[in-house]
C-alpha cells in the first residue's frame, strides 16, 4: 500500500518500457539474463546497477523538492562520504567506516537544513555553499590522492551481490522500502505534500515546518552518503575530484522526470526511482548503439527541455488558447 503506484505514473512507466524496447532493438541481447556465480548478469541488470547511485540520490532529492527546495550539494556529499569510507576501510572494521561516512552525510544534511529552515536562505543558494566547499573537504580527507582500499566488506557495497542481484540494486530497493515506510507509513508524506503545496496554510494548521524541512535535508544527505559509499566501493577507491560529479543534476532530472514539480507538493518515490532508471536506460542504450557516450549529454538536454515543456503551465495555456482560436 505504502508503495502503490499512483495512476499518474503511467507516462513514466511507458517511457521506461519504450526506451528499454529501443535498447532491445539496438542490442538484441539486451533482455538476456544469465546466472553466474549466483549473481545475475545482463544489460537489464546493468541498467539497474549503474542507475543505483542516481536512484538513491533521487530518493532523497524528491523529498527535498516536494518541500519546494532543492539540494545541489548531493554530489559533493557523495565525494565526502566516499572519501571517509575509503580512508577508514582498511584500518577499521566495516561498520565503523560505513557509520563514519553516513555520519558525515548526517552532518552535511543538518548544515543544509540549518541554512534553509533556520536561517531562511533560499535552498538553491544555501546548498550551493556545500556544493562548492564539499569537494574541497573531500580532497582534504583524501589529501588530494585517490585513496584505494582492499577491504572486501566495503567493496561488497559496490560489486557484491545478494539474492542474485548486485548489491547496489539491493540497497536501492531496501532504501526505497525504508523511505516509503518512513514517509508513507508515518504522516510525513502528507505533511510534506501539504507544506510544499501551501506552506502558509500548513503552518496555520499546526504543521511544524522547520523540523520537517531539516529532516528532509538530512535524509537527502544520508541517501547521498550511501550513494558515495557505493561509488567508492565500485572503483575500490575514493576520487574526491570526480566522485558524484554532476550527479546532483541527474538526480534533479530524475525527480522531474518522475513527475514531481520543482514548485513542490505532490511527489512519488517510486516514480523518482523510475526517472533515474529512464536516465540510465538512455545512457546504456546510447553506449550499446555505438554512439559516443558523449552523445548522452545532448540527449539529456533534450529530455530536460521536453519534460519541462510538458509540465509548464504556460504551455498548456498556449495550447488551450490555440485550440480556442481554431474553434
Amino acid at each position: 500500500m505504502a508503495l502503490a503506484l499512483p495512476r499518474r505514473g503511467l507516462a513514466q512507466i511507458a517511457a521506461l518500457i519504450v526506451i528499454l524496447l529501443i535498447d532491445r532493438m539496438v542490442s538484441p541481447q539486451f533482455f538476456d539474463l544469465r546466472l553466474q556465480d549466483g549473481r545475475l548478469f545482463g544489460s537489464l541488470i546493468d541498467v539497474l546497477n549503474r542507475g543505483a547511485p542516481v536512484a538513491l540520490l533521487a530518493l532523497g532529492m524528491v523529498l527535498v523538492i516536494a518541500t519546494r527546495g532543492i539540494d545541489l550539494s548531493v554530489g559533493a556529499v557523495m565525494a565526502i562520504s566516499g572519501a571517509i569510507a575509503a580512508s577508514l576501510a582498511d584500518s577499521h572494521a566495516w561498520p565503523v567506516a560505513v557509520a563514519a561516512a553516513l555520519g558525515a552525510g548526517l552532518l552535511c544534511g543538518l548544515w543544509n537544513g540549518f541554512l534553509v529552515a533556520i536561517l531562511g536562505i533560499q535552498p538553491i543558494v544555501a546548498t550551493l555553499i556545500l556544493m562548492v566547499a564539499g569537494r574541497g573537504i573531500a580532497q582534504l580527507i583524501t589529501e588530494g590522492r585517490i585513496v584505494t582500499f582492499t577491504s572486501p566488506d566495503i567493496i561488497w557495497f559496490g560489486t557484491g551481490s545478494l539474492l542474485g542481484m548486485p548489491a547496489p540494486v539491493v540497497i536501492v530497493v531496501g532504501m526505497l522500502i525504508v523511505t516509503g515506510l518512513v514517509v508513507r507509513g508515518s504522516a510525513l508524506g502528507l505533511l510534506i505534500e501539504a507544506a510544499g503545496g501551501n506552506a502558509r496554510a500548513s503552518e496555520l494548521s499546526g504543521v511544524g515546518i522547520r523540523t520537517m524541512v531539516v529532516s528532509v535535508y538530512v535524509w537527502c544527505s544520508l541517501c547521498a552518503a550511501l550513494a558515495g559509499i557505493i561509488a567508492a566501493a565500485d572503483i575500490m577507491g575514493a576520487d574526491a575530484n570526480n566522485a558524484g560529479l554532476w550527479l546532483e543534476l541527474d538526480a534533479i532530472l530524475a525527480v522531474v522526470i518522475g513527475g514531481t514539480s520543482l514548485f513542490g507538493g505532490r511527489f512519488s518515490l517510486v516514480l523518482a526511482v523510475c526517472g533515474a532508471l529512464i536516465i540510465q536506460a538512455m545512457n546504456t542504450g546510447i553506449l550499446l548503439s555505438g554512439y559516443p557516450p558523449e552523445f548522452n549529454l545532448v540527449v539529456k538536454a533534450a529530455v530536460v527541455l521536453v519534460v519541462l515543456l510538458l509540465q509548464s503551465p504556460r504551455l498548456s495555456d498556449l495550447v488551450a488558447n490555440y485550440r480556442k482560436a481554431r474553434a
Partner: protein, 512 residues
Amino acid sequence: MQETAEARQPLLDVRGLSKSFAALRALDQVDFTLRAGEIHALLGENGAGKSTLIKVITGVLARDAGTVSLDGKEIVPRSAKEALTAGIATVYQEVNLLPNLSVAQNLYLGRQPTRFGIVRDGEMKRRAAELLAGYDLHIDVAAPLGSYSVAIQHVVAIARAVDLSARVLILDEPTASLDRHEVEMLFRTMRGLAARGIGIVFVTHFLDQVYEISDRITVLRNGRLIGERMTSALPRLDLIHMMLGRELSETTEERAVHEKSAAAPCASFTNFGKRGYIAPFDLELRHGEVVGLAGLLGSGRTETARLVFGAERADSGTASVEGKPIRLHSPRDAVQHGFGYCPEERKTDGIVAELTVRENIVLALQAKRGIAKPLSRREQDEIAARFIKLLDIRPPDPERPIGLLSGGNQQKALLARWLATEPRLLVLDEPTRGIDVGAHAEIIRLIRELCERGLALLVISSELDEIVAYSDRVVVLRDRAHVGALDEHAIGVPSILAAIAADDAARIAEEA
C-alpha cells in the same frame, strides 16, 4: 472646490460594470462617476468589490459587461500599461516601484535622458529634483527609493504617474501604513493635484481621512453600488450604515435568543497585545458562547484573531486555557491546546489546492497527533466521509482536489478540518465571505449548532446582521484596539453601529 467640481462634465464615467468569478458576482451593474478636480472616496468592506472595480477599470481584469469612458470617449484597456497610456494611473498600497533603484531612476525608468546611449545622470537628477520640488519634496534623488519612508515613496509614485500624463489617479489604500505627519504630506499632494484638474479616486478604510479630504463618496457592498453622496451631506453614522448594514428588507437573519446561565470559561487572554500590531486587550471566551468581533476594515479584527491563534506572537500579556496559563508562540501551540482558525484568505492561507478534500480535512488533526502517529487510510476515509455528510460538502467526493470545489464548499472543508480536531475554541475570520447565498445560511446555522455543542467561538464578520444573529457578546474594535463590548441584551445592528461611530465621534471631539 465642490461646487466647481459639480459643474464639470464627468472625467471618468463607468456604467453598468459587471464581473463574475465562477459563480460569484464580484461586481454587479456598478456605476461610478469621477469629475475632474475632485477627490472621490471609494468605500466598502473587504469583498465589497473595490479592488475588482479598480482592476476592471484599469484593464487588469477583463469585464463581463459595462462601459468605461474617459473624457466622453469609451476606452477598453487590456492591461495596466494601456490604461496608463490612456491616462489612468494606479498607485497601490504596496508601492509598485523599485526600492533598489534611486528615486531619479524610478521617476525616469525607460525614459532616461541619454546621450550616445549613456544615461545623462546629472540631467536626470536635475529633472527629478525639479519634478519633486513641484510636490514640495526636497530629497536626495540619487539615494535608493527604499531608503525613504512609504509616504515619500507614494509621492514619488504619484509624481511618476502624473508626469506620464495621467488625468485619473487611483490611490489604493495609500495611507494604510503612514503616520499622521506623512498622511498630511500625502493629502497636500492630493489637494495640489486636484487643483490642477486631476481626478483622484481614493480607496481607504480610514473614515476620518475620508471626511478630511474627499469631496464625494461612493459606497460598494457585496459587489453592488449602494450609493454616491457628497461628503459634506453624509453623516458618519449613515455612512457606516451604508457600508455595514443591510437594508431592512434584506435582513434575513433573526437574532436567536440564547438563554444561558454563566457558561464556564474556555480561554482567556489578559492584557494580550503586540506592539505596532494591536493594542493589549482582555478577552474571555466561554464554552457554548459566540463572541463577535465588529469593526471596520483595518480596525484590528483579524489581528486579534491571529494573536489568539498564535499566528502572531504576542509581546505582552498572558493566555490561559481552562484557567491554566499556556504558552502561545505558534499555531502549533494553539492547535495543541485545542484551538482552530479558519483564516479570511481561504486560497492563500487555508486550502492546499492540489491535495484532496480528504487530505485537507485530516491535515490539522494529523498535525496535532504528530508525524509518528499517522491516521490510517481507513480512519482518514471515515473522517472525510463523516464530515462531507455532516456539512454537506459537494460534490461528495473525498478524492477530488479541493482547489476544484466552490468557495462555499472549500470553506466547509476548512471547518471540517478543525472540527475533526475536536477543538474547544474555533476562530472564524469572515466565514461567509465570497460564498453563495445557500452556503451562507448553512454556515450560519453551523455556527449556532457548534455553539450549542459547547464550543467556544470567536467570529469576525463585516456583515453586522450576521454578527447580531449568532453572537452572545460583541466586541467592538477601532484603530487596532478593543474599544467596547456589548452584552447579550444590548446587541443589535443599531447599537453596534452606534458603538463604532460613537467612538469615532468622541475621538473627533477630542481632537478638535
